[in-house]
């Protein structure tokens, strides 16, 4: 019955339906989140006996004073600012081009989608070769334009750029697919109406495509921001288990990983995780607020 009022029995029944997913979420998401929040306040902790003898905010004090953490935050922000806009723009342009061609469109879609289904480690290995300062393809091509060989992975100056280029490329495939879906959802009638109204190709793009694609652009950028803030495996794989030459690619998650797995400072690792959580939350809330005014559903 559509108008049935909830009863204790019906609520219990609903709970039963929810139970399988609830068990999994609570065990693997909710509990770890709460636990890491609490853990960030552990100041004296015996890991082997799981005894916490003191709570406090010393962990936060430590990371706020730690130059490594400052560097990690800076690098993370550079990475986000470098990767997200480039990913959005390049994948939109490629999607627009793919949308135009009829010939072999499916083939190209598959080619562009491949990076998404390939393991990060394999991709990083390939880029390792591309970036090789002596025999790498990239330096080979740059050589045509008279650019001297760049040691992409060994120089602290270029390591972040190398990481950003690889990450943008890796993100393209999935975002192109999303943009293609968005483009196909725009009714042809709007373009016809725009033509009738005197809009040339560029005006059709800015007045029809861009606004009507905004929900997808929003999805892609929120997704990209969250994913980029959490970057880790690309760094680990590209720089062979180091945070880049002289920590030039040290990000927050990499910092967290080091504190947790190599230094066994669980409280500090948890505290940096909490900071990351709030940074992502802040940016996402800002994006949501922005989207209320500029995204047209």
């Amino acid at each position: 019955m559509l108008n049935a009022k909830p009863t204790i029995k019906s609520t219990l029944k609903a709970l039963l339906y929810l139970l399988p997913m609830l068990v999994i979420s609570i065990t693997f998401s909710i509990y770890p989140i709460i636990k890491s929040f609490i853990m960030s306040f552990y100041t004296k902790y015996d890991f082997f006996k799981d005894i916490v003898s003191q709570y406090g905010i010393d962990n936060f004090k430590f990371i706020f004073a730690d130059p490594d953490f400052h560097l990690a935050v800076k690098n993370t922000l550079i990475f986000v600012v470098g990767v997200v806009p480039l990913t959005v723009i390049i994948s939109l342009v490629i999607a627009l081009l793919l949308n135009r061609i009829k010939w072999l469109a499916g083939f190209f879609r598959t080619v562009y989608f491949l990076p998404f289904v390939t393991s990060t480690v394999a991709i990083a290995q390939v880029w390792h070769w591309i970036y090789n300062s002596d025999y790498g393809l990239l330096n080979y091509f740059l050589g045509f334009f008279g650019v001297n060989a760049i040691s992409w992975l060994e120089s602290p100056k270029y390591a972040m750029l190398a990481l950003i280029i690889m990450s943008v490329w890796k993100n393209l495939g999935f975002n192109i697919i999303l943009f293609l879906v968005g483009l196909n959802n725009i009714n042809e009638r709007y373009y016809q109406a725009a033509k009738i109204d005197g809009a040339n190709a560029w005006h059709q793009f800015t007045n029809v495509t861009i606004p009507l694609l905004s929900p997808i652009t929003f999805l892609v950028s929120v997704n990209g921001v969250i994913g980029s803030f959490k970057v880790f495996d690309e760094i680990f794989a590209l720089f062979n288990g180091t945070p880049g030459p002289s920590k030039s690619a040290l990000t927050i998650v990499y910092y967290l990983y080091q504190k947790f797995y190599t230094e066994w400072k669980y409280g500090i690792a948890a505290a940096s995780g909490v900071i990351l959580f709030f940074m992502i939350l802040l940016v996402t809330v800002f994006q949501l607020w922005y989207s209320k005014r500029h995204v047209h559903y």
Binding site: R189, Y190, K195, I196, G198
Partner: protein, 352 residues
């Protein structure tokens, strides 16, 4: 602006022709309907006038200018789409302003013009709303205002009323007529609804299977249908159609023998079957049997049987009971004879 089609043909894939050798002229300042059943090519014709579709062969003229090669951008017509195609992200005002913005009209002037148009179509109290928040009728008014914004010399309407409910449809078609007369813009109106076409237009072009069946005024279309298709398509209730072989000599002597010889189909308008004799106008008398008579509102219909065929009449004055025999008088001005190709060979003004 006058629109002329010269021998225009369109085929989508090069094999299947949608429109065959269209030739017509739409006079300046008139409201012309293109009427036909679904898939007859009427929207396609409109798309070719707008420039969104190019003809496969033939020429299109606006006035004496050949626009065949020009696209929609260059032709500068106004168009209202079937589903309105209002930009969902723009307010009503911005939607109406859009063509002016594209024409690089200054911000102040285009706002003034847009408000003027909004007043013309009675939508000026909804300017800040998004199209999604408007009813179908309001959306349609916005679409008309937008189409009129750049003062086109030609306004195209593609089934603009088909998404509205019955009462609103009647209101809006009067509105379109009013706006057309106030602005004097040449208007082409595509519809599959004969009632709409008959009420709104100066001239109607009846299209079927990519051929123009007849292009004339509403009255002529009804009184002098040029062929069986037009006779059957125009008129509500539908004209009674019988084979000439269904008659047992009732028409003999009333109509020239050589015409009867060539006749294949006989069309009789429901109002041309009277149960009372008006001698001067009576062509023949037939005897029928009442199967059913029904009355709703001011409509009174009787279903009859005539030599095993069904007939419908709206002109039975006497009270009749089902199963009763009823002599009917065929009125001269509602009987048409068609030859084997469906061409009218008797009836209408020529034989009145």
């Amino acid at each position: 602006m006058e629109v002329t089609f010269k021998d225009v043909t369109l085929s989508y894939d090069g094999k299947r022709e949608i429109l065959h050798h269209l030739n017509f002229t739409i006079p300046e300042g008139t409201l012309v309907s293109i009427l036909g059943p679904s898939g007859c090519g009427k929207s396609t014709t409109l798309m070719m006038i707008s420039g969104l579709l190019a003809p496969t062969s033939g020429q299109i003229f606006f006035g004496d200018q050949d626009v065949t090669k020009k696209d929609a951008l260059a032709r500068k017509v106004g168009m209202v789409f079937q589903n309105y195609a209002l930009y969902p992200h723009l307010s009503v005002l911005d939607n109406i302003e859009f063509p002016l913005k594209m024409a690089k009209v200054s911000k102040k002037d285009r706002k003034k013009k847009a408000i003027e148009l909004a007043k013309l179509v009675h939508i000026d109290d909804q300017l800040d709303k998004k199209p999604g928040a408007l009813s179908g009728g309001q959306q349609q008014r916005v679409a008309i205002a937008r189409a009129l914004a750049k003062e086109p010399s030609l306004l195209l309407l593609d089934e603009p009323l088909s998404n509205l409910d019955a009462r609103l449809r009647i209101e809006m078609r009067q509105e379109i007529r009013r706006i057309q007369q106030e602005t004097g813009v040449t208007t082409i109106f595509v519809t599959h609804d004969q009632d709409e076409a008959l009420h709104i237009s100066d001239h109607i072009m009846v299209l079927n299977q990519g051929h123009i069946q007849q292009f004339s005024s509403a009255e002529t279309l009804y009184d002098n249908p040029s062929n069986l298709f037009v006779a059957q398509f125009i008129g509500e209730p539908v004209i009674n159609t019988l084979d000439i072989t269904d008659f047992a000599g009732e028409l003999d002597g009333q109509i020239d023998a050589d015409i009867l010889q060539r006749t294949q189909k006989v069309g009789i308008r429901p109002e041309a079957l009277q149960d009372h004799n008006t001698v001067a106008n009576t062509l023949a008398t037939i005897t029928t049997k009442v199967t059913r008579s029904e009355k709703y509102g001011r409509e009174k219909n009787a279903l009859l049987e005539f030599h095993g065929q069904r007939l419908l009449t709206t002109e039975v004055q006497a009270d009749v009971t089902d199963g009763q025999e009823l002599p009917l008088y065929l009125q001269r001005n509602g009987v048409y004879l068609f030859d084997k190709d469906g061409v009218r060979i008797f009836g209408g003004d020529q034989d009145a």
